[in-house]
Symmetry: C2
Subunit: 118 residues, 2 copies
Amino acid sequence: MSHSRDDCEFLQLHPHIVEQVQAELPSEAEQGELAELFRMFADPTRLRILTVLQVSDMCVCHIAEVLGMTVSAISHQLRLLKNARLVTARRVGKSVIYSLADDHVRVMMKNGEDHVRE
Amino acid sequence: MSHSRDDCEFLQLHPHIVEQVQAELPSEAEQGELAELFRMFADPTRLRILTVLQVSDMCVCHIAEVLGMTVSAISHQLRLLKNARLVTARRVGKSVIYSLADDHVRVMMKNGEDHVRE
DNA sequence: CTAATAATTGAATGATTGTTCAACTGTTTG
DNA sequence: CAAACAGTTGAACAATCATTCAATTATTAG
């Protein structure tokens, strides 16, 4: 590190602020989980899948058709969304129908949209 | 594509569902902006920076110290957060003090935390 | 049982990205 | 002015990741 701790003059005026703030921070494990959750919404394809499922439950085949992508690509992303408990799957005959896991997903997306609209 | 549109029997029962759902979807530009917003929260370091700034405005030097990372690494991430209008910067002497841009950031994070806690 | 449809999976590939390092710009102090 | 501090920036590197392709599982129809 070219900047070591003692380089900062400001720190000498507030010698305890670093420890104080550190004490208030959530654990790294919690932050990691939170980052993983946001990461699910951070990819355009996953976001579009979630948007589609807000309109209607759908089989993989339909989702792929709506988004103009391969079934394989969609299936890979659905697996991530399912592992993150953002969607659930139920089998109906040969098809597997995916749904949003709960309303929290809608809230998260609505919140993001509000911020984008400034 | 190994699965073409006409392969799906379900589609023949609901021939217009794809077009109906497509018509309700937001534009790709909107979805892209939304994904970019979520991407800012999707990295542990950026998330920790935002958490630190929730406790107190801080100079780059302090943030680096609290998180145990180099000033350079923090500065790179702060640039992304500033471009996304999630933080603002003001110069005070030799230091640059960073702050959360607005309360929307807090809302977004609180929402994510609620979902992580199930 | 065989053929066809629906979906999943693993490996490979190309693109993106977070951190490091070194060089650089601003600001203050002597 | 020169020296020191605070922060920024660009290139390079390693790691992560989304998509493709091919092979495979599961279900249904003939």
